[in-house]
């Protein structure tokens, strides 16, 4: 593994997990997880609640600390100390179920904070970047409003823009549409489909199987902390190998 991130080119995996184990006290949340995600690949992770799917992607930017195993992100060994964690977080964007926008800041300020504080960007440059990405998620006119003045769908799109302002190489989505009213799900999914079209490496935890069919290169099914099944969407939905996957797909089909 190269010590110099990015130096080994596009062939280096964006994410590599080897034998990852995670416990919450006595609860075994991740059991011997191996996963390799290529640069530019779109992965959808699904599974029943408590299956460890959120925990899995939260390990990639160390919102969860694992007890065992190796995690390498963009050539950076995560398990090797704090400095590396900061480096990885700068290059990995995350979108949360509950948006987690900063309520006391305007939309524009939400998007500018990290570039200003972390990248030490100039104010004008940070603002230009923020407006560019707000344009991309199709809400440039909301820049001066506060999050509470926006609909859920708009807030989630702001959250996506905020993450993109750091120019991440990998984007993590943790159930991005689960807290939304049904009529707002589409606008957020469309934004994510655009992003996928631009070649962003994406790991998405979601129950939106339509999105998985349309966008995913691979679909992962997790249950009880294990990766049970992993396949391309065509094979995953039409010929699932495992009984547990079939049961799960049967349950969410309606």
């Amino acid at each position: 593994m190269s010590a110099n991130p990015g130096a080994d080119g596009a062939d280096a995996p964006a994410v590599r997990m080897e034998g990852v184990e995670k416990w919450y006290g006595t609860y075994h949340a991740l059991k011997n997880v191996d996963l390799e995600v290529a640069s530019g690949e779109r992965i959808v992770v699904c599974g029943p609640s408590g299956s460890g799917k959120s925990t899995l992607i939260r390990c990639i930017n160390q919102l969860e600390v694992v007890q065992k195993g190796r995690i390498v992100v963009d050539g950076i060994e995560l398990t090797a100390g704090h400095k590396n964690v900061d480096k990885v977080r700068r290059d990995v964007g995350m979108v949360f179920q509950q948006f987690n926008l900063f309520p006391h800041m305007t939309v524009l300020e939400n998007c500018m904070l990290a570039p200003l504080k972390v990248r030490r960007a100039a104010k004008a440059e940070a603002e230009a970047t923020a407006r560019k990405y707000l344009e991309r998620v199709r809400i440039p006119e909301q820049a001066d409003k506060y999050p509470a003045q926006l609909s859920g769908g708009q807030q989630q799109r702001v959250a996506i823009a905020r993450a993109l302002c750091m120019n991440p190489r990998i984007m993590l989505f943790d159930e991005p549409t689960s807290a939304l009213d049904p009529e707002m799900v589409k606008e957020v999914l469309d934004t994510m489909i655009d992003l996928a079209g631009e070649g962003m490496t994406m790991l998405v935890v979601t129950h939106e199987m339509g999105f998985a069919r349309q966008v995913a290169d691979r679909v992962i099914f997790m249950d009880q902390g294990e990766i049970v099944e992993m396949a391309g969407p065509e094979e995953f939905f039409s010929r699932p190998k495992h009984e547990r996957t079939r049961t799960f797909l049967g349950q969410i089909a309606h």
Binding site: L63, D86, R90, M94, F96, F102, H104, L113, R162
Partner: protein
């Protein structure tokens, strides 16, 4: 020889309000700095810091303010600072306010949803900027009402400094009473002056609380 309670006595007591206010201001300013540090230590990731802050808070919550004043007053004397009621009262009340504000503000910091910190971590925002730009501004809104409420307690608490000889409102009352033997008038006036200081603050605290409740219900 007994003096009558006249305008001189009246103004002597009223003028002592400035020392009550000065002592309250010093203790509140010092307590704000100490309280912020204590609160940050209480929510820190470092166990020794958390426990040190907790011990400090428990110590000052679990002992009477009067004993804290005595200990600092006589303690400073032992360390050769001489008898200095101003210094002793300032130090003791600052420590007292630090402990109480530290505990109040810890609760306010913890009331800010965890997702706010997670968003910062995910963006790579470091501890200092996370606290300064995201967590503390939100905690401050929650903190305003209970902080003003504590300030009222602190102003009334300064009356205990009279016992170590610091001439503020209560001590001025005692001095006048020793000369006039008219305790009902004297302490009635003293109490009225405390009320004039504290009542508006209590109203303010209530208003801020209602305004915050409205804002967070939005």
């Amino acid at each position: 020889m007994i003096r009558a309670f006249g305008p001189n006595e009246f103004w002597f007591i009223v003028m002592a309000v400035q020392w009550t206010l000065a002592l309250s201001a010093v203790a509140f300013a010092g307590g704000a700095v100490g309280g912020l540090l204590t609160a940050l230590a209480r929510v820190s990731g470092a166990k020794p810091l958390r426990y040190a802050a907790l011990g400090f808070i428990r110590l000052f919550q679990g002992t009477p303010l009067l004993m804290q004043l005595f200990l600092v007053f006589f303690g400073l004397n032992i360390f050769g600072s001489g008898i200095n009621p101003w210094l002793a009262a300032s130090v003791a009340l600052t420590l007292h306010a630090s402990a109480f504000l530290g505990e109040i503000w810890r609760g306010c910091i913890e009331a800010v949803p965890k997702g706010q910190s997670e968003a910062c971590w995910a963006l790579g925002i470091g501890y200092f900027d996370r606290m300064k730009s995201v967590v503390l501004p939100q905690a401050a809104r929650i903190a305003v009402a209970p902080t003003v409420g504590f300030l009222v307690q602190l102003i009334k608490g300064t009356s205990l400094a009279s016992i170590i000889g610091f001439v503020e409102l209560t001590r001025a009352g005692q001095i006048v009473n020793n000369a006039t033997f008219d305790p009902f008038t004297v302490f009635g006036l003293v109490a009225a002056l405390y009320f004039v200081l504290c009542w508006p603050l209590s109203i303010l605290a209530g208003q801020l609380e209602r305004r915050f409740a409205k804002a967070s219900a939005r």
